[in-house]
């Protein structure tokens, strides 16, 4: 804690906090062009210089930590003049195309020129030809670029793609794809978000609207369980068509990071929906007939509560396989960890010094976790160990140790981790049987995890601890929940959480899996007549617009999600919806007496940690210093520990032949992302180079994937981001991948070239 003074005001800085950070927190204004709070100070703009008493010259406030009792002046005549001169230099040869520039109206350069009253440019430099670069979803215009480097830093420090860099050349400097002809990255579009001028823009949005025309609707991203905060920006579709349309997505880029699916996959709304009374009547009849409701986790907490209420009233079976698996995993985990929920949040991951990731293809399962890991790697040089059968090259700059294990041997891996991470108490708790079955030689041989690899992890862990590491996180993913031995895995995870320094995080696989798992009482078996909600059933309610009755998509609904941070976050209606909603059905059935679905927000089950807060009272913003004020966090309750011993480790399953994985390609999460016009693509079998070579396939070949008596005909595409294996996604609803992957995310298939 350092006490000092800014403009006479006494302020206190925490350790390592810079002058600018303190000033921002205290609401004192220091102008900047290149400062971005989520990355390291960039120091290219030099606008944030301040005067310090007793120091000759100006001191850069963005990177200088405060010294005790320093007296700092943020504004003076000299400072103003120099800042003004800097702005003049920024204006040298900056094209005067504000008229068409997409950024006009929210452009930092415009704002600062106005602020420093630069209304004319008195010198110029010889100009040069700088063509606009066209990079898939993005465009880069070097002549507009002021080289603040925000994009480069965010790509390197937060995203982890490290896909762009500056081609140094003084006045000729520009942004170029790193080590490549053209940009090939995960298309998070964060460079567009952080660009203070119009140099980086979204090609789709280009020239279609101006900043000031768009209405901002704060919402939560509906694609994955990170439920990132974002704004849908809407405007009428065209002069002829007054219907509002989402033009783009923006985010609070200073504090938060969106992935490409969130940024470019925004128009997944159900456009066709009308109040079709006939269909509604049929739906009510179907509900009267049905004994099962099948649904996915692409619903809000309130809808989940409605489904639960229907179940309580009519005894429906609620079937949601993925949430059910997660629910059971969480329950078993709780019984051994003693906590009703996992504790770490994405912020904790960012602060972790040692992270072990297991059972998740994180770059497509949950990019937010990947970004958090990148931040921890870059900021704390954390050790990141990834256990997975599929090598993900995207994680290469992030992961410090990759442990490739055999498909299906997660139990072995987790057991070995328990062995090295936990103390003797844990082993005692695990029980004699388990301990007896723990034969490291056998496990190592079968899982292909070398003992020396485990030792190396231990060595790294010790090294980290010597260097004063404090936070350790074990992140577990969907592979484990769907694993045939999920129950045991959950218990082992519980042990790790309880008996080691490691905190365990269980990534919810889908948008609101955590919410559904907490709110709904899920069933295993389907009945005779089922109603599917965003899922095929005998009668289908669908937000995709292909069912028997239309439902609103998540950008047409208000409500809350329970996200990966265990936070209940609100989302709002971006686009109007004409048709019926679930609450209408519930009202018709006599289950609901509320007019709006959001009236249920305060009725979410308190025993699960929800709070009795009205929807309209939920915050949805970030404070000046980056504090997230969105909704509220679920309360973690104490759970009675189970006294049962953990079952012995079973013989590890063997997967021979061709094994494929179930995950989505980058930028896809579900049929909803695939519905968005920018992301729309055909489902393919994505395979690594080695996989293709092994099977003698080429990109573009058609293959038949066979399992039991199911055959899927599909095209093959090479995915350069994975170094081994192949995967199939579920985002293309025309391809029935469901039947291939009954439980586990890996499956043995036969692949034949057609």
């Amino acid at each position: 804690m350092v006490k000092f003074y800014i403009d006479g005001k006494e302020v206190v800085a925490n350790r390592g906090e810079t002058i600018l950070q303190v000033a921002r927190r205290e609401g004192i204004y220091i102008p900047t062009m290149c400062y971005l709070s989520k990355v390291k100070p960039i120091e290219s703009c030099r606008l944030c210089v301040v005067e310090v008493e007793g120091v000759e010259g100006f001191v850069l406030s963005c990177q200088t930590p405060a010294t005790p009792d320093a007296r700092i002046t943020t504004d003076s005549k000299e400072l103003y003049e120099h800042r003004q001169n800097i702005m003049k230099l920024y204006d040298v040869n900056h094209p005067l195309e504000c008229g068409v520039c997409d950024k006009s109206g929210e452009c930092d350069l415009q704002n600062k020129n106005l602020e420093f009253r630069v209304d004319s440019q008195e010198f110029s430099a010889r100009d040069q030809y700088r063509p606009i670069q066209d990079w898939n979803y993005l465009q880069y215009d070097p002549s507009l670029c002021i080289l603040c480097e925000k994009c480069v830093h965010v790509c390197n420090e937060v995203i982890g793609d490290d896909a762009i860099e500056i081609e140094y050349g003084g006045y000729k400097s520009r942004i170029i794809p790193k080590d490549a002809e053209t940009l090939d990255c995960t298309w998070c579009g964060e460079c567009v978000a952080v660009c203070p001028v119009g140099a980086f823009i979204s090609k789709d949005f280009k020239y279609s609207a101006n900043a000031w025309e768009l209405d901002r609707i704060p919402a939560a991203c509906a694609h994955c369980s990170a439920s990132c905060h974002l704004y849908y920006e809407t405007k009428h579709s065209s002069i002829e068509n007054p219907e509002p349309k989402i033009y783009r997505v923006k985010n609070e880029f200073e504090f938060e990071t969106l992935c490409g699916a969130g940024r470019f996959g925004f128009d997944f709304e159900n456009r066709e929906a009308k109040k079709d009374e006939e269909a509604f009547k049929r739906a009510i009849e179907a509900f009267k007939r049905a004994d099962t409701i099948k649904f996915t986790s692409f619903i809000t907490n309130e809808e989940a509560l409605l489904l639960q209420k229907m179940k309580e009233r009519f005894g429906y079976r609620l079937v949601n396989d993925e949430a059910r698996a997660y629910q059971r995993f969480l329950e078993n985990f709780s019984q051994y960890s003693g906590k009703s929920l996992y504790t770490p949040s994405l912020y904790d991951i960012e602060d972790s010094d040692f992270i072990i990731l297991m059972g998740s293809f994180i770059s497509s399962d949950n990019p937010a976790v990947r970004y958090a890991m990148t931040v921890s790697q870059k900021r704390h040089r954390s050790e990141i160990v990834n256990f997975h059968p599929v090598e993900d090259d995207l994680l290469k700059p992030v992961v410090t140790k990759f442990v490739k294990h055999e498909v299906g041997s997660e139990e072995a891996a987790l057991s070995m981790l328990v062995d090295i991470l936990c103390d003797e108490d844990a082993k005692k708790r695990a029980g004699k049987e388990w301990l007896e079955s723990f034969d490291i030689g056998y496990l190592s041989a079968e899982s292909n995890i070398g003992e020396e690899e485990i030792e190396d992890i231990l060595k790294r862990l010790k090294m980290k601890k010597r260097r004063g590491a404090k936070r350790f996180t074990l992140i577990l993913g969907e592979d484990l929940y769907t694993h045939p031995r999920a129950e045991n895995l959950a218990k082992l995870a519980g042990l790790v959480d309880r008996f080691s320094e490691f905190d365990v995080m269980l990534i919810p696989p889908k948008t609101n899996t955590l919410g559904v798992a907490l709110i709904c009482d899920l069933d295993e078996e389907e009945g005779e007549f089922s109603i599917g909600y965003n899922q095929k059933g005998d009668f289908t309610l669908s937000a995709l617009g292909d069912g028997d009755l239309d439902m609103p998509a998540l950008n047409q609904q208000e409500g809350t999600f329970t996200n990966i941070d265990r936070r209940v976050v609100p989302t709002n209606v971006a686009l109007p919806y004409e048709g019926y909603v679930l609450n209408d059905i519930a009202k018709e059935l006599g289950v609901s007496d509320k007019e709006y679905t959001i009236e249920y927000t305060k009725e979410l089950p308190k025993e699960k940690g929800y709070k009795e807060i009205e929807f309209d009272e939920l915050d949805n913003e970030f404070l000046n210093d980056g504090t997230e004020k969105r909704g509220y966090e679920l309360e973690i309750k104490k759970v009675n520990l189970s006294r049962k011993n953990i079952e012995p480790i079973e013989e590890l399953p063997e997967f021979n032949g061709t094994v494929i994985y179930r995950c989505e390609p980058v930028l896809q999460f579900s049929p909803f992302t695939n519905k968005a016009h920018q992301l729309r693509t055909k489902g393919k079998l994505y395979a690594s180079e080695t996989f293709l070579n092994d099977l003698g396939l080429k990109e573009g070949d058609k293959v038949n994937i066979q399992k039991d008596n199911i055959t899927i005909s599909i095209e093959v595409e090479r995915d350069g981001f994975i170094a081994s294996g192949a995967y199939l996604g579920r985002f293309d609803k025309n391809i029935d991948t469901e039947s291939l992957f009954k439980d586990y995310r890996f499956t043995e298939v036969k692949i034949q070239k057609v």
Partner: protein, 683 residues
């Protein structure tokens, strides 16, 4: 010292000899490169602190234009701050406009305005200092400028292509570093969390990034401008950060650039130590293949076998060696001792030879009864070889040596249990010896040093000396062995030791050591390790080559091209200079490789302008201890990395220095002021 100049505004001096005849010119206090090369005289010198003219007939405006242009060229390494990027461009454009004869008075005003903003707000010193000589030109040569503007004609030598403008970018730290590592660049890489850039910047002039991130004596830190403000930057530690990134993520290898394709030329390199490796690396970068010979079974030379594991873990060094070996054309041949015959063969078969054999013979301490045969008399190099080969590579110590020194032979390693070890010396090697002795479980370890504590710290590093003290090494200062006392079996028994005191020289010279009479004492010991210095083993040089040697017994070169008296035979590293630091060896080998790469092509010995300038700047001195620092907040402490606890490190060979944590490294990097300077000579 000093040179006659026509005009100078360098630093604080102002000499204006305009209108005076050449004989009456005043002398400057600074050592300007008046003579650019043996046969070329320079006309003018312009740099960060002003300009100096050596001739009346200099086109100052064109000089300034070129200087501004050179800033453009060098800022291509950057362009990362708004004032520098655009300001520099405008400086050049406007000066050029005036020099072309198209200028207006308004341009002069703009130049002044842009200069002042650059001086105050640029990111690095390069942007802050470039406007200084330009402003001098504007102020002192106003008449010339007015003439050009009014007469609308180009300046005198505007289109004269015979005048060359040769420039060089440097920094105080780069200047101090024998291998001229681009220190601000790799620190910037750390600061930007772009560790790949960091290690690439290091490898531009220093392939051994891991090694020199750990065991460099860092002369750069003594000339760090930050020291004028508070404490110097921890330059060495920061080098390691980038290098560690490479290994952590398995990004092998991050070379500074794509090596050129092999051009068919091949060079023999004798010795695979730092100098040999460096030579091979930069030759391969230039497309010259090389065979690297070493007598040891392992690569790395003295650093591999001499520097102990706890200071320089061998797996890290192997990464550096791997980086060299990864280049096409580099071929290692280990376990081959090169003889004079081989050398003769080499001359026939290769296009050039680089001798980098180092100094591997421990010198004697010049005590009475000092003989190699004494059981317990164990020269430092051999002592360290025995310990480290086992610790690092698992190669057991030769039984006969263990036996000679009365050590148990049943163990493959050196076990000093129950022994008293005395080391004579006071440099890095002696510290390594005593600390290794501690780890080899010696009962008592004593270091005898002729001078005082301050000198030992100056010769080594503060950290290392204190770590040794913490580990229990006993230091006896102002002492020397007078006589070695042995028993009947020629076993070492005890040492007779003299004590000295420092007597100030009445003439004001260096204080003299004077023996204190009667203060001698005898100390019992089992093993005596002389570690005072080493000399080169040059037995493999064919006598008929008549290679000139220095009085120190090393190969004589001109210190610039590193060619020995025999054409095509180059020498670099300790065998050229005498026992010195790794970074010195690297610097020499880098230069030698550069000269050789041209020599094998053209048969001529040349230096690049860059290299000539490097030498000139070194003699001019870049670092100015008295300079005041503007624009930086003082009082930010130098970051110190964690080290292993004494208990933990005393009994293991684990690396002692854990390095900076990421937060510390970044905080440290942020203290760097990026003191780049540009200097330019007109010839």
């Amino acid at each position: 010292m000093g040179s006659k100049v026509y005009f100078s505004t360098w630093k604080d001096e102002f000499i204006d000899n305009r209108g005076k005849p050449r004989e009456e010119w005043a002398e400057s206090n600074y050592n300007f490169p008046v003579q650019y090369n043996a046969d070329i005289e320079s006309k003018a010198f312009i740099g960060w602190a002003g300009l100096a003219l050596f001739d009346e007939d200099v086109d100052v405006i064109k000089l300034a234009t070129e200087y501004a242009y050179q800033y453009q060229v060098y800022s291509e390494a950057c362009g990362r701050c708004a004032p520098g990027r655009w300001g520099g461009r405008i400086l050049y454009d406007l000066f050029d406009k005036i020099a072309r004869g198209e200028g207006e008075w308004g341009d002069v005003e703009h130049l002044k305005e842009v200069s002042s903003t650059m001086i105050e707000t640029s990111k690095c010193e390069i942007g802050k200092t470039v406007p200084k000589p330009l402003l001098d030109v504007l102020n002192y040569f106003e008449d010339e400028i007015r003439e050009l503007i009014e007469q609308k004609r180009p300046s005198k030598y505007y289109n004269d292509e015979n005048i060359n403008y040769i420039s060089k970018v440097t920094a105080p730290c780069m200047d101090a570093c024998p291998s001229h590592v681009d220190i601000p660049a790799y620190i910037e890489g750390v600061r930007d969390l772009r560790f790949d850039y960091s290690v690439q910047a290091t490898r531009k002039t220093m392939p051994l990034a891991h090694t020199c991130g750990r065991v460099c004596p860092h002369p750069c830190e003594d000339e760090c401008r930050r020291a004028n403000l508070d404490e110097p930057i921890s330059i060495m530690e920061l080098k390691r950060v980038g290098a560690d990134f490479e290994t952590d993520h398995g990004l092998f290898w991050l070379h500074p650039k794509e090596p050129k394709p092999l051009n068919g030329k091949k060079v023999a390199i004798v010795g695979a130590g730092p100098a040999g490796l460096t030579g091979a690396y930069y030759l391969a970068m230039e497309g010259v293949a090389s065979d690297v010979y070493d007598e040891l079974p392992v690569l790395g030379g003295e650093v591999a076998v001499g520097v102990p594991e706890f200071r320089m873990p061998v797996d890290k060094y192997n990464v550096d060696i791997g980086a060299v070996g990864s280049l096409e054309g580099v071929n290692f041949i280990t376990g081959k001792r090169v003889t004079a015959d081989d050398m003769r063969e080499f001359e026939k078969n290769y296009d050039a030879i680089l001798i980098a054999t180092g100094t591997r013979i421990s010198k004697k301490i010049r005590a009475k009864n000092e003989r190699e045969e004494i059981r317990g008399y164990w020269p430092a190099i051999n002592f360290l070889d025995c310990i480290n080969l086992y610790v690092k590579y698992g190669i057991p110590a030769p039984k006969e040596i263990l036996e000679k020194n009365n050590l148990p032979t049943d163990k493959p390693y050196v076990d000093l249990t129950g022994k008293t070890v005395v080391c004579v010396g006071g440099g890095f090697t002696s510290l390594d010896v005593v600390r290794c002795a501690v780890r080899a479980n010696a009962d008592k370890v004593v270091m005898l040093y002729r001078r005082d504590e301050a000198t030992i710290i100056k010769n080594t590093t503060y950290e290392e000396y204190h770590e040794a003290v913490e580990e229990g090494v006993e230091f006896i200062f102002y002492s020397a062995v007078e006589e070695i006392i042995t028993d009947e079996n020629d076993n070492l028994k005890a040492l007779k030791i003299n004590r000295f005191e420092l007597v100030p020289d009445p003439d004001g010279g260096r204080p003299q050591l004077k023996k204190i009479e009667g203060a001698d004492f005898v100390m019992e010991c089992d093993i005596l390790v002389p570690a005072v210095s080493q000399s080169a083993d040059l037995s493999h040089l064919p006598p008929e080559w008549e290679i000139e040697l220095t009085s120190w017994g090393t190969i004589k070169t001109d210190g610039k091209t590193y060619m020995s008296s025999r054409k095509g035979v180059f020498a670099a590293g300790d065998c050229e200079y005498g026992p010195m630091t790794i970074v010195n060896a690297v610097g020499q080998a880098k230069r030698a490789a550069s000269v050789m790469s041209r020599y094998v092509q053209s048969g001529e010995i040349t230096l690049t302008d860059e290299e000539i300038m490097e030498d000139h700047l070194r003699s001019l001195k870049v670092y100015d201890k008295k300079e005041k620092i503007r624009g930086w907040m003082p009082g930010l402490p130098r970051q110190k990395g964690e080290i292993l606890s004494v208990e933990e490190r005393k009994h293991s060979y684990l690396e002692v220095n854990l390095g900076l944590t990421q937060e510390q490294a970044v905080a440290e990097a942020e203290r760097c002021m990026r003191c780049y300077y540009i200097a330019m000579v007109a010839v």
